[in-house]
């Protein structure tokens, strides 16, 4: 049985960011990836590095997201330098477009509450009226009443990010196990053994980052990960000359010029199929924001499953029964990649999660039954 300092289960964005961070911290790490039979949220990502609406009523999540957005330029630069892969990160700020007066008023209330909850930490935002949005973005539609703006938002190419994290991990001596479903697991304090298709591996640390697969794996390690799938659909247009100076919550333009339009939230179980009615609704709302989009051709579309904890906030946990086992789940693998690589991985390498992550423990779901 080959032994490592740590085994990360899950080769998507969460797992590869943690594995990269562990290798970067000098650990001899193994990254175990189930294969293309998995749901592969990391292949369906929209690519926002998004701050402005994360963590309403959960200031710890806002702080964690902000921390990641702050670390992102450093991560992108480091990955480019080490792997030669440009992950297309830009941080021009971002807007959430509002259609109609009610949406604008509701958004203004949300943003003000975000600012209050940030406390001394601060939260810079501006509500832009229609005229200000028109000066910022090309050809907005008559339905647009305004927008919220923060300077924290940005975007990146999620596939390039995944590629760069994998390559960076391998260059640091990490061992990648492709097409390796965990067939069996034995967990004891500081001693974890996994049987894969072709061999057995062991380590004193194990990190569960298997997305929707965590739900089944976690109990074997004395952890809980009650995640469920939430479907999102994305439309992609032909490449156009550069028109959008910054991403919106649902529309962004890639470095190459294609426009991504997305962000449906559907509760349909493990169905990764596409749905024309939802695609139509996505397109219609986008055209109301930017009428010129009606002339741009859609060339691709896909659906993928977000990994959703019951309250939408990430789960970071460490096992009490089997110290050395950790779990990480979230639906923001791109946004939080920098936090995972540069903050979470060093905690795992050191052996314990920082108290700042306590509110993210799955213990928050253990609500005592009412008497």
């Amino acid at each position: 049985m080959r032994r490592y300092d740590a085994i990360v289960i899950g080769g998507g964005l969460v797992g590869s960011a943690i594995a990269y961070g562990l290798a970067r911290a000098g650990l001899k790490a193994a990254l175990v990836d189930e294969g293309d039979v998995a749901y592969r949220a990391a292949r369906g990502n929209f690519g926002l590095v998004w701050v402005q609406s994360k963590g309403l009523g959960a200031p710890h999540y806002q702080r964690w997201t902000r921390l990641s957005a702050e670390e992102w330029p450093g991560l992108a630069g480091e990955l480019q330098a080490r792997t030669g892969i440009a992950v297309g990160h830009a941080r021009p700020g971002g807007v959430h477009l509002c259609q109609g007066e009610a949406e604008f008023a509701a958004r203004a209330a949300v943003m003000e509450r975000m600012r209050r909850e940030a406390g001394n930490f601060g939260f810079e935002y501006r509500m832009l009226d229609r005229k200000e949005v028109a000066a910022l973005l090309p050809g907005i539609g008559p339905a647009v009443t305004g927008a919220s703006f923060t300077p924290y938002d940005g975007h990146a190419n999620p596939l390039a990010l995944l590629h760069a994290l994998h390559r960076g991990f391998a260059l640091r001596g990490g061992r990648y196990f492709p097409n390796s479903r965990v067939e069996a697991a034995e967990a004891a304090p500081g001693d974890f053994r996994l049987r894969l298709a072709a061999e057995e591996i062991g380590a004193p640390k194990a990190v569960l980052a298997a997305g929707l697969g965590n739900a089944g794996l976690a109990p074997l390690f004395g952890l809980r990960a009650p995640v469920r799938p939430q479907r999102g659909q994305i439309l992609v247009t032909e490449r156009t000359r550069h028109v959008l100076p910054m991403p919106t919550t649902t529309i962004r333009q890639t470095v190459e010029g294609g426009l991504l339009i997305g962000d449906s939230q559907e509760d349909v179980g493990f169905d990764t199929g596409q749905n024309p009615a939802v695609m139509k609704a996505i397109a219609q709302r986008a055209v109301r924001s930017f009428p010129w989009l009606a002339e741009v051709q859609i060339v691709r579309a896909w659906a993928a499953l977000r990994v959703m904890p019951p309250d939408g906030l990430p789960i970071y946990d460490q096992s009490e029964r089997c110290p050395g086992a950790f779990a990480a789940n979230c639906h923001s693998g791109v946004t939080l990649a920098a936090a995972h690589a540069k903050a979470l991985a060093p905690m795992i390498a050191a052996g314990a999660l920082d108290p700042m992550l306590d509110p993210f423990s799955a213990r928050r779901f253990d609500v005592p039954a009412a008497a």
């Binding site: 000066a135 050809g139 490449r239 000359r241 741009v296």
Partner: protein
């Protein structure tokens, strides 16, 4: 580089490729017209400006993008020729679509 098979139907549909008239059989694709007109490439990529031309001929590779009757970025292999069709080079990313939102 390409010539019609001896058993192909008569070329009766006249289209232009970059202004030059070429005739194709009914049912042929705009990509076939590009090849019949002798063009090896019909577009320049948005990122590097590299030359591209019809390749897969079945709608998969997106390398045959052309401007057809004024509409940019059409997959020419999926467009059937009709009399008078004008096929032109696609130079890089399509231009910014004109905003229609008035003062915005």
């Amino acid at each position: 580089m390409f010539r019609p098979r001896p058993d192909s139907p008569e070329a009766t549909v006249a289209v232009t490729v970059e202004g030059r008239t070429v005739r194709l059989p009914t049912g042929a694709s705009a990509a076939a017209a590009i090849l019949a007109a002798g063009w090896r490439s019909i577009r320049e990529t948005p990122v590097s400006g590299a030359e591209r031309g019809p390749y897969c001929m079945i709608g998969v590779c997106f390398d045959c993008l052309a401007e057809i009757d004024g509409v940019p970025n059409r997959q020419s292999c999926l467009v059937t020729v009709r009399p008078g069709m004008a096929i032109r080079r696609q130079r890089g990313a399509r231009p910014f679509p004109p905003p229609h939102a008035g003062e915005g």
